[in-house]
Symmetry: C2
Subunit: 182 residues, 2 copies
């Protein structure tokens, strides 16, 4: 397990993930197959399956990496404003990769071990960001309400009941109700 060999594995993974994102953008998540991703990455499908447990795993992994790069929000303004900013930062980031967003909603519900691990991390990331925006003196009920409303918006967008671009605007008044705008 020298650093050289693990480098080689890491490179293969990166190549697969990059190919996965390209493929996703080009053909969408329905048409994408692990084998087509493997081919694009210049790797056999057996190898792809060594690193990607499933299509779902690929999507969730890509989503997680994409999301982690969403900019943190400034710590200025009213509480409501900070929460709005946090929501907008996340939704903007998500909307930047529509194909990925469309793919991840069903994928997040998968039962693979890898999916489960990642979705906990993603959920935790939301919590951290909202907590930072909310500040210390906030009730659990508000925290929960915010998280549930955000999850709900993701679900509705995933169902096609709203676009990912609309999310922030649709959530704005909702956030105001939950956080309190006075």
């Amino acid at each position: 397990m020298s650093s050289a060999t693990s480098t080689r594995q890491a490179e293969t993974v990166e190549r697969l993930l990059a190919a996965g994102l390209e493929e996703l953008r080009e053909v969408g998540h329905e048409a994408l197959t692990i084998r087509s991703v493997a081919a694009r990455a210049g790797v056999s499908s057996a190898t792809a399956y060594t690193y990607l447990a499933s299509k779902n795993h690929l999507f969730v992994e890509l989503f997680w990496r994409h999301l982690a790069d969403a900019p943190a929000v400034e710590e200025t303004g009213s509480r409501a404003e900070r929460v709005q900013a946090a929501v907008r930062s996340l939704t903007t980031r998500i909307a930047a990769e529509p194909a990925l967003a469309a793919a991840v909603t069903p994928a997040l519900l998968g039962s693979d071990t890898d999916v489960e691990r990642l979705r906990l991390r993603i959920g935790a990331e939301f919590v951290v960001r909202f907590d930072e925006a909310l500040g210390r003196e906030t009730t659990d009920a508000v925290r929960q309400a915010l998280l549930l409303a955000f999850s709900g918006a993701l679900l509705q967008a995933g169902m096609g009941l709203m676009t990912y671009d609309e999310m922030a605007d649709r959530l704005a008044p909702v956030v105001a109700v939950i956080v309190g705008e006075e």
Copy 2:
């Protein structure tokens, strides 16, 4: 298209749906296959596919029928209390069929035409129930917040982050925040 023939078709559908629910309870949604449902219903798989466009369609159809039977809530008590009651009525009903609940969350995200039609109906049902509980003088923001929080709770339960039994209790303080308990 006499009433007799459409009766025959209707009976086949009922038989399939009943078999589907039994199969779902016994083996869970992962192991269930349309063919096994067809066999249980005493029908060929080709026939099953005539009426059920997909596994997702089956689950969503079953869920819709199950949900429609949730009792309506009394029109007494404070607004918050009525909303709580509406939430509890729905969650109790959903929790009564755990296997169905587990199956429907991913299914609801399917892209079949039939799934889409039904999920709009299900969403509309939620809206109607919440609107009845909220009464006339309510802002859209509150309505939206409630709907999103409820959807979010469904999603989280679907992900295994809470049980369906817990939903109502977890939602109670959230509802209080959104509707306002004063």
